[in-house]
């Protein structure tokens, strides 16, 4: 049968069977709306939350510290009994075949204070700062300044600020004092002064030894080890030497070790512990969290699939009723010369068209609802660093997938009963109609 002939029959059937057509299209549309929304939620959960878990609890990264000796609430790091994290230790770590990267974290060993202005308010706060290599934070650096050392006397110092620090401001200070809340774009590129050696809190300050450094915020970090601010390692080394002279320590507070393969995870931990180091891995935590998130996403998706299954039953029943009503029509078409294939094609085209229309409407509504919900939630919820940047996946691919699913589902759901009908002898169909 020619395509134009199929269109001829389809147009008339669909137009003149308004009630049944609307029921079928409506059922498909509602099912696809629910499924699309559930799938969008599950995908958002997986992509957004898992990505944050990956950043906060990197599975291939071990945090290595000098071993502490815990006595009650006190913890000591007795150098005679445990290894120190010297640059040599870091080099030795980097030489291990199982280790891919070593990122030392050098603490600023004197008080430091940030001074700046925000929305017309002058503010200052004591601050903790660490020096880290650029490789460690390259994915989080967004400012044009980059994360490179340049003479602090003549250029700004690039600074990464902890997202949790921004959270504290937004959820505490800004809420309490009615200050504007900070977003990524409002923070990145902002300048402030770091007063190295100065403090509002500490009494151990030498007023004659305070150094002003102009800073530019070049990014925000989720890394919980970098609570405070992080700057290129060379700055901290220089400030420590300037402040403490020959007594300045070159030892690292901790070293982030990235292992090459997950299979080496246990072996590396055992090796480093045998060196007298304390090793903290994130793998188990990350896995538990991932399992929980995947489980939640699966449950959400199962709800969507349940809706789809219920809709499939409704759709199959509706089509079964339509087929029952149309036995005579099928019998007649066959009796006047339609082949099984042509009859099947005609009726299948009808169910596929209904599924296409229902799927497009349902998934389109869900897609629009997702966009709207994301925009409303973004405005309505307080900004905090662990919040997903979106709650429902808006990808057009999901829309296309749902439409294809509806079409394939419609075809699969109706094809067996159509085939059973067209295989029967026309006289039997006519007699039963």
């Amino acid at each position: 049968m020619k395509l134009r002939h199929v269109a001829f029959f389809l147009r008339r059937n669909l137009r003149r069977r308004g009630g049944r057509t609307l029921t079928a299209v409506g059922a498909i549309a509602v099912a696809m709306t629910i499924f699309h929304l559930m799938a969008a939620l599950a995908l958002a959960l997986r992509s957004e939350v898992l990505a944050k878990i990956q950043v906060i609890f990197p599975e291939h990264t071990l945090i290595v510290r000098p071993r502490t000796l815990d006595i009650g609430p006190l913890a000591f790091s007795p150098g005679l009994l445990t290894a120190r994290l010297t640059p040599d230790t870091a080099h030795r770590l980097a030489d291990q075949p199982e280790i891919k990267a070593v990122w030392p974290q050098l603490p600023l060993t004197m008080p430091a204070m940030a001074v700046g202005s925000l929305a017309g308010y002058e503010g200052s706060t004591d601050i903790v700062a660490y020096g880290v290599p650029a490789d460690m934070v390259k994915s989080e650096v967004m400012g044009a300044r980059g994360f490179k050392y340049a003479d602090p006397a003549t250029s700004t110092m690039p600074v990464l600020v902890s997202r949790f620090f921004v959270d504290m401001f937004n959820l505490g200070l800004a809420e309490g004092q009615g200050l504007p809340k900070l977003t990524d774009t409002a923070v990145i590129g902002r300048h402030f002064q770091l007063l190295v050696g100065a403090s509002l809190l500490s009494l151990d300050v030498k007023p004659e030894q305070v150094r002003k450094v102009e800073c530019e915020i070049v990014g925000l970090t989720h890394n919980p080890a970098l609570l405070g601010v992080a700057v290129p390692l060379e700055y901290v080394r220089e400030f420590n030497r300037w402040y403490h002279g020959s007594k300045a320590t070159e030892n690292y507070a901790q070293v982030h070790v990235v292992i090459r393969s997950p299979e080496d995870y246990e072996a590396v931990i055992q090796k480093l512990e045998s060196w007298g180091l304390q090793v903290e891995g994130q793998r188990d935590t990350a896995r538990r969290l991932r399992l929980a998130v995947n489980g939640a996403a699966l449950i959400v998706l199962l709800f969507g699939l349940a809706a789809l299954a219920m809709a499939a039953v409704i759709i199959v029943n509706t089509f079964a009723l339509i087929m029952l009503e149309r036995r005579g029509e099928i019998g007649l078409l066959r009796a006047v010369g339609a082949t099984r294939r042509a009859t099947m094609g005609l009726l299948l085209a009808e169910s596929v068209l209904l599924a296409l229309v229902g799927g497009t409407i349902g998934s389109g509504v869900a897609w629009a609802a997702s966009r709207l919900a994301n925009q409303v939630l973004a405005r309505w919820l307080p900004p905090f660093s662990l919040a997903p940047s979106y709650w429902l996946d808006e990808r057009i691919g999901l829309f296309a997938f749902c439409v294809i699913l509806a079409v394939v589902g419609g075809a699969v759901a109706t094809a067996p009963m159509l085939w059973r009908s067209v295989r029967r002898w026309p006289a039997d169909l006519l007699r039963e109609s």
């Binding site: 049968m1 137009r15 082949t339 002898w425 026309p426």
Partner: protein, 244 residues
């Protein structure tokens, strides 16, 4: 298209009921119909007249036996060839019309032409010509629900004739019509038989068909018997059914 010969060879038919074979409806029927013949088959309700026409039309296979039309043994054809046979060679007029409720008169009449591969315009033109011949061109755009029984039967005749078939099978075409309309429909079919030299097989209770039929048979007990001249058995039974 000139008529075709029809041969039924030892035709048996038993309807299966709940998985078990029931009583045979047709019991070893042999029949030869010459091209251009008008054969009327009489018989009581449930005697198997419709079943016999369905077999000749290729829409119901016998339990046993062979149906040969022209040079083709129908039920040995594959689906494609059997469908083409139904479409090109057979015009079927059903007692209850079997018009598609979603299509207008002209659209119903177009269906076989479309299935034959004609374009929409060609099919519509041919269907309009046929509707005109059966005197229903003024109802071309009416749907079945908007037509009388006689008008619906005329649409069914137009649909049966639209592909210019060799064989016209009419299953009690006057069964649902009033007497006057029945006479008109029979006259119409008689005219087509003469003008187009069609082979016509008609299952009927209607005695007035004798004006048009070249042969008449009586189906009883699953077998065909000649309807003898002056033998009014069939009509008597019909009268008995109508006025028990």
């Amino acid at each position: 298209m000139a008529g075709e010969t029809i041969r039924l060879i030892n035709i048996w038919l038993t309807y299966a009921s709940s998985g078990t074979a029931g009583e045979p409806v047709l019991r070893g029927i042999d029949l030869d119909v010459q091209a251009g013949e008008f054969l009327a088959i009489h018989g009581r309700s449930g005697s198997g007249k419709t079943t016999l026409l369905h077999m000749i039309g290729g829409i119901l296979p016998p339990t046993k036996g062979e149906v040969v039309v022209g040079s083709h043994s129908l039920f040995s054809l594959n689906d494609l060839d059997l469908s083409a046979f139904r479409n090109r060679k057979i015009g079927f007029i059903f007692q209850s019309y079997h018009l598609a409720p979603t299509l207008t008169a002209v659209e119903n009449a177009m269906v076989p032409a479309l299935l034959a591969g004609q374009s929409l315009a060609q099919a519509r033109k041919r269907a309009m010509e046929t509707l005109n011949e059966v005197g229903l061109s003024d109802k071309a755009d009416a749907r079945p629900a908007e037509m009388s029984g006689g008008q619906m039967q005329r649409v069914a005749i137009a649909r049966a004739l639209v592909n210019d078939p060799a064989i016209l099978l009419a299953d009690e075409p006057t069964g649902n019509l009033d007497a006057q309309t029945g006479v008109e429909i029979l006259a119409l079919l008689g005219r087509y038989h003469l003008e187009r030299r069609l082979t016509v097989l008609m299952a009927t209770h209607d005695s007035s068909v004798e004006m048009h039929a070249t042969h008449q048979l009586y189906l009883t007990g699953g077998q065909l018997q000649p309807l003898r001249s002056g033998d009014d058995q069939a009509f008597a039974e019909r009268s008995h059914e109508a006025n028990p």
